[in-house]
Symmetry: C2
Subunit: 441 residues, 2 copies
């Protein structure tokens, strides 16, 4: 979706400096989130698949090289050196769908310095967004585990890629599918759709709009009933269903998009049931997020599915994560950034997760990659020498992983409310290394 | 950046229903924002250029048609009918950079129903995001009109397109430029860059990192001085500047990215000035938004420029606008949606803006397009019969327009605080039409 110049200028400026200095030793960078937003008890790693596609395809096109040359910002011999650049390094990462916490690396890049530096901006751009959305969407899944949740948010997602990747990330988190057609085509995600108010409005009257739509979508039509008066429209659906039934056409469901969704759903359910239309489903949408969904579920509103859009696709209550991509080691020597409030844990690290007898996770340890620590290591090799390892799990596997992970996080973390934080211990080896580096400067 | 299938499934489902019914009369849709977020006193229209590119290029590729056929969701003859579809309609819109308010249409599509319906999702996706970001970014411009503001937010923008379009929208709003290289290539926006902490860390010591960088970027190097200790680093810059001066190399500036930015800037300025480096600029970044920038300006912190990222690119305090694309007229007959809390003003509309003797705008009138109303009409023709009109203003013109518009909005609206709302009167003609339509159903 975007070439190698989708990067910050300083990446190229630094690359040129490294080129001039002949610096290109082995570098280790790690991606992590410094701090969780108070509205999130845990995060879900996502976006790795897109990062790998990006790294495997990394190259400068001749148009991009020409543009760099003509910008007169760079030395010609440096631009020439970019012509053959590809990503030849290693990547270790948490599989997509893994639950993780603050300060835990979710991805580690080990590569010649220039390659590892160049890819910073786009790796963050991809990992940040999908992780943000998976971590938001999973909250609706927790709020309504039995309902059909559909991503409805393309129109207010932040651009084309956000539309596509939020469909992917929400499906990964447990949504049933998306309304975004291209996401269905590109990622194989189930797609869903109903009708718009404009469809009803374009027709002279609501009843004929419903009838035309149902006839062109036999078995599959979901009718939008709130354009004028929701309950009056429900009665029109009842009359239509009786008429179509004699011709073997069934209406699948109705959608309510405004007003008190729970109250309307109850009244509509009563109207439909009284006519024997118990199989006809009620779908709700309109300004929904996990809290409103939870309230509707708690009030036992007879709603079978929810269209969740804007607030999910923009992660509206926490629209960004404080993530970073930091140099942790260069030419075998650990590195530490000590900027105020932004100090990092140095060295090449691994995250170990411990479980109790019931299988619930009890805490993580942030350790050095070489430490011998009990627990399950979460970072796994995914790319070696620029080539993906064969056994890459797909989107379905990531979705399954989320389900399994949710069953293993402590109960308190599954609440929508802020819970007591999960324990992430920093191993003594890491602390000792940090102290040693601090003493050196 | 994305094909015609970047749309909601219901657009295609409705198109098929219209196809089956033979419905394709002339439809008028309007885009507007229902309500401004409390954090915005006005909005800035942006994204029109991308909408026009999309409409002019609209078509189904053979791969897209094949996929639709193979999805078995649609009738073959309907999919065939899409093969020749292009956008043949008209568009009227507020020029990019226009200040606007709630309920005011910023774009009107007049086209055969199927075309006008199909383009809903992507038009909103584009207009919403650029308008959101221009309206956010302009607040930093108001907070620091004399500083150099640079978009630093690619990494946490929501995907690739958000990175590119937020660079464009913030430049349109008055930013000096962006760090995103591809935005420079694609839109001709000035690009800026400094160095990352990793550059300093990869070197054995900070002083040699500074020296190497300055030598490869003579005249143009901005050194990041907060990796370890900001003031100690400033002294290293002083020593380096003296050394390089003898070789005719000047350092352009320093960047501070953490801690109390105002306090560090003051101390660093003192250190630099004491060494006679008065021309060396100080650039600040790190979690900035318009409020922090305004505070720094108010405290007279000696900061020449600001890198503003995440909070701008995600419009973090208001990450979406309540925008809509609604059918207002079909086959010459006005239409009105009456859903609870979401009723629309019907008919083909125009916005008229009135000014006082000093040139300040005093209020708008939302009228019917045919009304004779005093004031400047804001919607202008931009596309006729699917073809753009010749005199399309570019990005530079939009940027100039923002500057001119800011000079004409009432003083209170330019505050970062919530002001008393600007007056938008709904003309009697519009109200009467709404009443008439309500009485019909």
């Amino acid at each position: 979706m975007a070439g190698v110049l989708l990067t910050d200028l300083y990446e190229l400026t630094m690359l040129q400096a490294y080129f001039v200095q002949g610096m290109n030793g082995n570098a280790v960078f790690e991606c992590f989130v410094r701090k969780l937003p108070p509205q999130r008890n845990f995060l879900i790693a996502a976006g790795l698949e897109q990062v790998l596609e990006y790294l495997v395809g990394l190259h400068f096109s001749s148009e991009e090289l020409d543009w760099l040359r003509e910008s007169h910002r760079f030395r010609p011999e440096f631009v020439d050196s970019l012509a053959g650049l590809t990503f030849t390094g290693d990547v270790d990462a948490m599989p997509e769908g893994t639950v993780f916490f603050a300060d835990e690396p979710i991805l580690r890049v080990t590569a010649p310095l220039r390659e590892a530096q160049l890819v910073e901006s786009r790796i963050l751009n991809l990992l940040h967004y999908e992780t943000l959305i998976a971590s938001k969407a999973v909250r609706s899944v927790l709020a309504a585990p039995d309902a059909q949740l559909v991503d409805f948010g393309l129109r207010r997602a932040h651009g084309a890629e956000a539309g596509l990747l939020s469909a992917r990330a929400s499906y990964l988190a447990g949504f049933a599918g998306t309304a975004t057609v291209e996401a269905g085509r590109r990622f194989g995600i189930p797609i869903y759709g109903t009708m718009a108010h404009s469809y009803v409005q374009a027709h002279g009257d609501e009843a004929s709009a419903f009838e035309h739509f149902a006839r062109t979508q036999p078995e599959n039509a979901v009718l939008l009933i709130d354009t004028y008066d929701t309950e009056r429209a429900a009665h029109k659906v009842v009359a239509l269903a009786a008429k179509l039934a004699t011709q073997g056409i069934a209406i699948k469901g109705v959608r309510i998009d405004s007003g008190d969704l729970g109250e309307h759903a109850r009244r509509v359910r009563t109207i439909l049931d009284a006519a024997g239309l118990t199989a006809l489903t009620i779908f709700a949408s309109g300004n929904l997020d996990e809290h409103r969904v939870q309230d509707l579920v708690a009030s036992k509103a007879p709603i079978d599915g929810f269209g969740i859009g804007t607030r999910m696709n923009t992660s509206a209550d926490a629209p960004f994560l404080d993530c970073a991509y930091k140099l942790e080691e260069y030419e075998g020597r650990p590195r530490r950034k000590r900027s105020e409030g932004k100090a990092t844990w140095p060295g090449r690290k691994q995250v170990y997760r411990c479980y109790d007898a019931a299988g619930l996770s009890t805490g993580d340890v942030l350790a050095l990659a070489d430490d011998l620590i009990p627990g399950t290591p979460l970072l796994q090799p995914v790319l070696r020498g620029g080539r993906p390892l064969a056994q890459r799990p797909g989107l379905a596997a990531a979705r399954d992983r989320v389900k399994a992970e949710l069953a293993r996080v402590p109960e308190a973390l599954r609440s929508l409310r802020e819970s007591t934080p999960y324990t992430v211990d920093v191993a003594l080896s890491v602390r000792a290394l940090a102290s040693r580096l601090d003493a050196q400067e």
